[in-house]
C-alpha cells in the first residue's frame, strides 16, 4: 500500500462507497474519481498497454489519461480519471489474460525489436494474411464490446447565446464574468460543478465541449447520471466563442517512463489537493517548469518524502526501475548518475495548450518556443482562446487573460498578445534501444519515431499512421507535442515546420447513443404515417406494412396466409365489390389562370386540354427524360386541377413542382399539397356502382363515365369522386375530409353488405393491377426507363411544346435499339410464378437481357403473370425466353402487358 488518504482533508470524512476492481472489494469516498479511489487504496497496476501489454498505472487526473482505461459496469475503455465513483461500480481492467498481474500478452514486450513500428506491413504476406490476422485481431482492441441494450438513456437539447465560454477554470470563469458584467448573454460550459461566476451567467456543469462546427455551433455532452437519463447531448449556437480549455502537462521521455507510479506532477498535486489522496510516500519530482516546483511543495506539505530535480539545472531522468510498481529512478546530473529509491515519480515537462477546439474552429496552429508547444492563431471574428489554452501560466495571469477575452466577446476591444516565457527547456531524446514512450497507450516509443524517420515517413501524418502515434483513445492529448518535438530533432528541423496532425472532433470520446439522441431512434428514426382510418383497419383485422405509410396488405380470415387472402380479396373485387383505402396517394391542387400551362410544362401529356370534369392519365419525367412518377390529372374547373401522385413519390413530386414553379417558370398558379386533408376510399368492382347508389350519394352515377370526376355529398358529407381505376374494374375513388374517413368506411361497408363488399389490401391490389399491366413507377421502371419504353412514345411525338425532359427524349439515345422496354411475361407452365428480380438470360452483350419487375398468380386467369423490362421487348411479342433466378430456370413467353380485359370493356 503506497497510496493513502490524507487524514485532515475533508474528503477523508466523506461518505464511504464500496466498489469492485477486478473482483476485489474496495472502498472510496463520495466525490472521488475512480482514479483517486484506486490510488487511495494503493492500487498501482491498473491496465495493460495495447501492443506490449506492459503494466500501466494512472498517469494523470483528467482528459489526457492514456493508461488507466477500465471497463465500468460493462462499458469499456473509460479513463479512470473521468469516472465519478458511485456505490457498487463493477470495474475491470482490460486487455489482459488471464489476469492483470499475470498477462501472457506481455511476452510481446520481449519481441520489441521484431514488433517495431509498422512491422505488419513487412510480413504476414505468405501464405495468407488471414491466417495471421485472426491472431492479431484477438490481440488488438482494448475492452470488450458491451452486450445487450444500453441501460443508459440520452437526450438532446439546443441552446443559443451571445457568448459561449468553454472551460470552468480561472480563465473561463473570468471570461464569463467579464462578458456578463457587460451585459452579454453568456453560457459557460464547465467540466466541474460549482456556482456560476456571475448571477447572469448560465452554466452547464459537468459538461464537456466536443466539437466546433460551421457557423459557430458547438456540441457538448453533459453528464446527468439521473435515473432514466445518463447524458444529454447539446448543440449550442453562439455569436462568439471563448475557448478556455486549459492545457495538458507533458510527460518526460526516458527509459521506462511508463511504469506504474510515474505520473504527471500536476496530477499528483490534483490528487493531493482536490481528493486528499497521496499517490505515493517517496516521490521524485523531475521538473522542467515552475509549476512542477509548486507541485513538489504541495507534496512535501502533505507529508510525502519529496526530492526535486530541476531539469533546467542540468538534471535528466535516465530510467525508471521497477516492473508492476516503481522502485527507483536513475537521475543523471552534474555530479553523475544516481539511483534514487522512490514509489512515485512526478514529471513536469511543461504545458501544452488544449488547442483541439481552436483547431476545429479553423484557427491555425503555431509552435511557440517559449512554452515548447503549439498555440492557436485566431483570424476570425468569432473565436478566441484565453488563459492556459493560449500559453498563459499562473492562476492570476489566466484570470486576467480570461477577463480580456470576456471583454472582447462582449463587443469590446480585441485581446492583447499572450505573455509567455521566451524559451522552454528542451529535453534531449533518449538514446536508441531503450523503451521511452511518446504515446503510452499505443506503445509508440522514441525508437519507433526513429524508425519512421529512417524509412522516410516524414510528414507528421505519415508518422502517425505508420507508428499509430496519437491514435489511442486519448487522441494524442498527451503525446502530440512530445512526438512533434522528437520528430523535429530526428529530422533536423523545427517543430513549427512539421506542424501537428489534424485534431478531429470529438474532443473526448462520446457515446453513439448520445449522438444519436440528436437524430431520434425507433419510430422517430424515420417517421411513418398512419392512414386517417388506421384504427378502423385495425378493427377490421388488417395486417400492415410500412410503405412510408402504414398500409393494410390484407385482411386475413383466421389461419389464412397472405397469398390466400390476396387471391380471395382480388376475386371478390373482380366479381363483386371491394373497398381499399387510397388515402396515401399524393394529391396536389393547382389553381390559377396559368395552371394548365404550368402542368403542360411539367408533364409528358397536355393536361391543359382536359375538359372540365374529366380525368386523364399523366406521366412525369425528369430532365433526363426518365420516368419519375405517374398519376392522373383531374380538371375541377377551367383554372383548377388536381393531380395524384404515387404514395411513395408524393412528397418528392410536390417539391419538384414547387421548385420548377419558383425557380424556372413563375407562372400565375398556386399549388398546394392536400394529401393529408382528404382521405380517399375506393370502391372497386362490378357492384361498386350499386354500393355507391345505396350510400345516399347525390351524384348521378348513370351519367358518371370512366375518367370523370364529380363533386357532391355522400351521407351528408362533401365528397369528390373520381372514376379512375387501378384494378381494371369500375372504381369510385371517394375523397372525404380526413376526419370523416372512419365513419365513411363503416357506412360504405354497411351499404355494401348485400353486394358482398369486403375491404381489400395492397396484396390483392397488386394482383389486380398486374392483370391489367398497370405499372408502379420505380418498380416496373428503373433509372433509364423513358415514356416510350412503357409504350408512351406516341404521346411525346404528338406534343410539340417543351416540357421537363422533352429535349432528352429527342436525343438519339432515346430511340436507340436495345433499350429495355416494358412487356408482359407469361410462364410457359401456367402454374409457375416467376420471382420478382429474376433475370431474362440469353442476352447478346451480357448474359442478362432483362428483369422481372412484378409477378404474381393471376386469380382471374389462373396462371402466373409478370411484367418485365426486356431489351427491345416491344418488338419481341411471342418469343419464348429463359428466366433465371438463384440457379433456377423457367421458360416464359413475351406477351402484351395487359392480358385481362385488354379493351377495357369492364370499365365502361
Amino acid at each position: 500500500m503506497s497510496g493513502a488518504r490524507i487524514p485532515d482533508h475533508p474528503r477523508a470524512s466523506a461518505r464511504a462507497l464500496r466498489f469492485r476492481f477486478d473482483g476485489r472489494e474496495l472502498e472510496g469516498r463520495e466525490g472521488d474519481t475512480l482514479a483517486a479511489a484506486l490510488l487511495a487504496n494503493g492500487v498501482r497496476l491498473v491496465a495493460r498497454s495495447f501492443k506490449y501489454h506492459r503494466p500501466r498505472g494512472i498517469i494523470g487526473s483528467g482528459f489526457s489519461e492514456t493508461n488507466a482505461l477500465v471497463s465500468v459496469n460493462g462499458t469499456p475503455n473509460l479513463p479512470a480519471t473521468r469516472v465519478m465513483l458511485a456505490a457498487g461500480l463493477d470495474v475491470r481492467s482490460l486487455n489482459r489474460w488471464p489476469s492483470l498481474a499475470f498477462d501472457i500478452g506481455a511476452v510481446n514486450g520481449l519481441l520489441g525489436g521484431l514488433l517495431s513500428a509498422g512491422f505488419y506491413y513487412k510480413t504476414f504476406i505468405w501464405p495468407r494474411w488471414e491466417l495471421f490476422e485472426a491472431v492479431i485481431r484477438r490481440a488488438a482492441g482494448l475492452g470488450r464490446a458491451p452486450e445487450g441494450r444500453d441501460p443508459g438513456r440520452y437526450d438532446s437539447r439546443a441552446a443559443a447565446c451571445d457568448v459561449l465560454v468553454v472551460g470552468g477554470g480561472p480563465a473561463g470563469r473570468a471570461a464569463a464574468r467579464s462578458a456578463a458584467e457587460r451585459g452579454a448573454d453568456v453560457l459557460l460550459v464547465a467540466d466541474a460543478r460549482g456556482e456560476p461566476p456571475h448571477p447572469a451567467v448560465r452554466q452547464l456543469a459537468r459538461t464537456v465541449a466536443l466539437g466546433v462546427y460551421d457557423h459557430t455551433l458547438v456540441t457538448a455532452i453533459e453528464d446527468v447520471d439521473a435515473p432514466g437519463l445518463r447524458q444529454r447531448f447539446w448543440k449550442i449556437r453562439a455569436n462568439k466563442i471563448v475557448l478556455a480549455c486549459g492545457a495538458f502537462e507533458r510527460p518526460l521521455l526516458f527509459e521506462n517512463n511508463d511504469r506504474p507510479g510515474v505520473m504527471l506532477a500536476g496530477a499528483v498535486r490534483d490528487y493531493i489537493e482536490r481528493h486528499g489522496v497521496a499517490p505515493g510516500r517517496r516521490a521524485v519530482f523531475l521538473v522542467a517548469e515552475d509549476s512542477g516546483l509548486a507541485a513538489a511543495d504541495v507534496a512535501r506539505a502533505a507529508g510525502i518524502e519529496t526530492r526535486v530535480f530541476d531539469l533546467r539545472e542540468g538534471y535528466r531522468p535516465v530510467r525508471a526501475i521497477g516492473g508492476k510498481s516503481l522502485r527507483a529512478v536513475d537521475v543523471a546530473g552534474p555530479e553523475g548518475t544516481a539511483r534514487i529509491a522512490c514509489d512515485l515519480v512526478a514529471m513536469s515537462g511543461g504545458w501544452s495548450p488544449a488547442v483541439q477546439l481552436a483547431s476545429q474552429s479553423g484557427a491555425g496552429l503555431r509552435f511557440e518556443p517559449g512554452i515548447g508547444a503549439f498555440v492557436s492563431e485566431h483570424q476570425c471574428q468569432t473565436v478566441r482562446a484565453c488563459g492556459a489554452a493560449r500559453g498563459v501560466s499562473g492562476e492570476a495571469e489566466c484570470g486576467a487573460d480570461g477577463a480580456a477575452a470576456g471583454l472582447w466577446a462582449a463587443g469590446g476591444e480585441d485581446m492583447p498578445p499572450a505573455v509567455m516565457p521566451v524559451s522552454a527547456h528542451v529535453h534531449p531524446l533518449p538514446p536508441p534501444g531503450v523503451k521511452a514512450f511518446v504515446d503510452f497507450q499505443t506503445d509508440v516509443s522514441t525508437d519507433d519515431l526513429r524508425l519512421a524517420t529512417l524509412e522516410n515517413y516524414r510528414s507528421v501524418e505519415h508518422v502517425k499512421r505508420y507508428t499509430v502515434w496519437g491514435m489511442g483513445v486519448d487522441q494524442g492529448k498527451l503525446s502530440a507535442v512530445n512526438g512533434v518535438v522528437a520528430l523535429a530533432a530526428l529530422q533536423g528541423t523545427e517543430p513549427g515546420a512539421l506542424g501537428v496532425t489534424k485534431f478531429r472532433p470529438p474532443f473526448a470520446p462520446v457515446a453513439f447513443g448520445a449522438l444519436a439522441a440528436g437524430h431520434g431512434l425507433g419510430r422517430l428514426f424515420h417517421r411513418w404515417k398512419q392512414l386517417p382510418a388506421h384504427d378502423w383497419h385495425v378493427a377490421r383485422g388488417a395486417e400492415f406494412e410500412d410503405y412510408g405509410w402504414l398500409r393494410p396488405t390484407h385482411y386475413p380470415l383466421p389461419g389464412e396466409s397472405i397469398e390466400a387472402a390476396a387471391q380471395r380479396e382480388a376475386l371478390a373485387v373482380r366479381h363483386g365489390a371491394g373497398l381499399i383505402d387510397s388515402s396515401s396517394f399524393g394529391k396536389i391542387e393547382f389553381k390559377g389562370p396559368e395552371a394548365g400551362r404550368f402542368l403542360d410544362l411539367m408533364s409528358v401529356g397536355s393536361p391543359s386540354t382536359i375538359p372540365v370534369g374529366r380525368i386523364r392519365y399523366n406521366l412525369l419525367t425528369d430532365e433526363l427524360g426518365t420516368l419519375i412518377d405517374d398519376g392522373v390529372v383531374a380538371r375541377l374547373a377551367e383554372d383548377h386541377f388536381l393531380m395524384t401522385a404515387s404514395s411513395g413519390h408524393a412528397e418528392r413530386v410536390f417539391r419538384w413542382m414547387e421548385q420548377w414553379h419558383q425557380c424556372e417558370w413563375p407562372l400565375d398558379v398556386v399549388m398546394q399539397d392536400v394529401t393529408g386533408k382528404w382521405a380517399v376510399l375506393t370502391l372497386a368492382g362490378p357492384r361498386a356502382r350499386t354500393v355507391l347508389d345505396r350510400a345516399q350519394c347525390d351524384i348521378d352515377t348513370s351519367a358518371f363515365p370512366h375518367n370523370a370526376m364529380r363533386q357532391g355529398h355522400l351521407a351528408g358529407a362533401p365528397v369528390r369522386i373520381q372514376r379512375v381505376s387501378f384494378t381494371g374494374e369500375p372504381s369510385y375513388e371517394i375523397a372525404v375530409a380526413a376526419d370523416r374517413a372512419e365513419a365513411l368506411a363503416e357506412w360504405l361497408m354497411q351499404c355494401g353488405a348485400a353486394e358482398g363488399l369486403i375491404p381489400f389490401g395492397l396484396e390483392a391490389l397488386d394482383l389486380l393491377r398486374l392483370e391489367k399491366g398497370y405499372i408502379h413507377v420505380g418498380g416496373d421502371t428503373d433509372s433509364r426507363t423513358q415514356p416510350a419504353d412503357i409504350g408512351w412514345g406516341k404521346g411525346i411525338a404528338r406534343k410539340q411544346s417543351d416540357f421537363v425532359g422533352k429535349r432528352s427524349l429527342l436525343h438519339a439515345a432515346s430511340s436507340a435499339p436495345g433499350r429495355e422496354q416494358l412487356v408482359g411475361l407469361q410462364p410457359v407452365d401456367a402454374r409457375d410464378v416467376l420471382p420478382v428480380g429474376a433475370h431474362i438470360i440469353g442476352g447478346k452483350t451480357h448474359p442478362s437481357q432483362g428483369i422481372v419487375t412484378s409477378s404474381g398468380f393471376s386469380p382471374a386467369l389462373r396462371r402466373g403473370l409478370s411484367l418485365a423490362l426486356l431489351e427491345a421487348g416491344q418488338s419481341r411479342m411471342g418469343e419464348v425466353l429463359t428466366v433465371w433466378s438463384q440457379g433456377r430456370k423457367w421458360q416464359a413467353r413475351v406477351s402484351p402487358v395487359c392480358p385481362f380485359d385488354p379493351q377495357g370493356e369492364r370499365l365502361a
Binding site: 475503455n77 510480413t123 516524414r458 505519415h462 453513439f512 428480380g837 429474376a838
Partner: protein
Amino acid sequence: MKTRYSALALLRHALSGNRHWPQAWRSPEPRDRYDVVIVGGGGHGLAAAYYLAKRHGITNVAVLEKGWIGGGNTGRNTTIVRSDYYYPASAALFDHSVSLYERLSRELNFNIMFSQRGMLTVAHSRGEVDFQRRLVNGMALSGVDMEMLSAADVRRIAPYLNYAPGARYPILGGMRQRRAGTVRHDAVVWGYARAADRLGVDIIQNCAVTGIDRDPASGVVTGVRTTRGTIATTKLGLAVAGHSTMLADMAGFRLPLTSYALQAFVSEPLKPVLDTIVSSAQLGIYVSQSDKGGLVMGGNADPYASYAQRGSIPNAEAVAAGLVEFIPAFSRVRLLRQWAGIVDYAHDSSPILGNSPVPGIVLNCGWGGGGFKAIPAGGEAFAHTLATGAPHPLARAFSLDRFRDLALVDEAAAAGISH
C-alpha cells in the same frame, strides 16, 4: 539498399537495432521533364505510376502530390473493397479490382492486409428483398460472387443486429459478397509508392500544381507549373478526386463533377465483435471493425457542395442513430474521431476514366465515395490510356463522352449508400 520485406528481414533488422532499414521511397528533387506526369499522389495516381513502369516500361514518371501521399481520400475512406455493382460495365471494372487486390500484397511485397471478411447488406422489407434479388441475380450473371440470404442466414452471420420485434426496420433477409472486405488504406499508398519508386518513378511531395501549359497552336499539353518549378511533359494524368474540376479549369476544360464532403467515423478500439461488414441502406449506415479494433463507419455525403475536409453534425447524428438502430449494443460504444474527404460525384455516380478534351491529358476522377476499392483497376486503366492513348477495355463505358451521348451508368439508382 533494397530490402525485400519478410519475416526474415524483420528478424535481421531487429538484431541490428532496426537502424539499417532503407527508405520506403526516396524524396527526389523534381526533374525538368518527364515522359509522364501524374498529378495526385493518392492510390490511383501511385498505382498508375507503378503500372506504367511495370507493365508499360515507362519509368520516367513523376507523381506530384501537393501534401503528403495518401493524404486525400485514400487515407480518409472506410477501406471497404467490394464489387457488388449492378451494371455490367461497373461489375467488370470493380470485380477486376477485387481480383487485383487479392494479389496485391505479394505483387508489391507490402502487406496491404486485405481482410476478406465479406459484406452483408440487409433487407428490411419484402420490396427490398425483391430489389436485392434483382441486384444479386444481375451481379451473379456478371460473375460477381453474390449470394442471397434468408432472415435466418442473416441472424446466424450477424447475431448482434437488431432483431427486436418492435424494430423500426425489421430484418427480412440480405445479400452478401464473401470476397468483399477491408484493406489497410495507407498500406495501399505506401505499397504502390515503394514499388513504383523501386522502378524509378519520382514521387514528389509538397508540390502543388499552379498551372497547366498547352501548346497554343495544337492545344496539346506541354507541362505543368508547380510550387517546385515548371515540369515539362506531353502526357499528363489527373487523379485528384474532389479537386478535379480545379485542375480542369487550369487546363481550360470543364468536367461534369461536383465535390461533396463525405464523412467517416471510428470508435474506440474493442475486442473482436464484428467479423463482417454490415450495411443497411434504410438506416444509412455501414460498419466494419478494423484489425486494431475500432468500428469504422460511414453514411451518406453531406448534402451540399463542399471542399471542407470536415463533416457536418446532422450527418454525424444520423450515422450514430443508424448505428444504434442497427446494433443497439453499440449505443454505449464511443465515437473517437470523425473526419471527411472531398469526393467528386458525376450525375450517375460513376467514374470518368479516359481521355480528356485536351490532347495529352488523361482523366481518372468521378469516383465519388467509391474510389478506394477501384485503385488497382483504376490505376491500371489510367496507366493504359497514359501509355497507349486508347481507353482501357474495362473503362470504355466510363468515358467523358457518355454525358453527351446520354449513356449514363447510373449506379446510384442501384446502390443504397456510398462506401
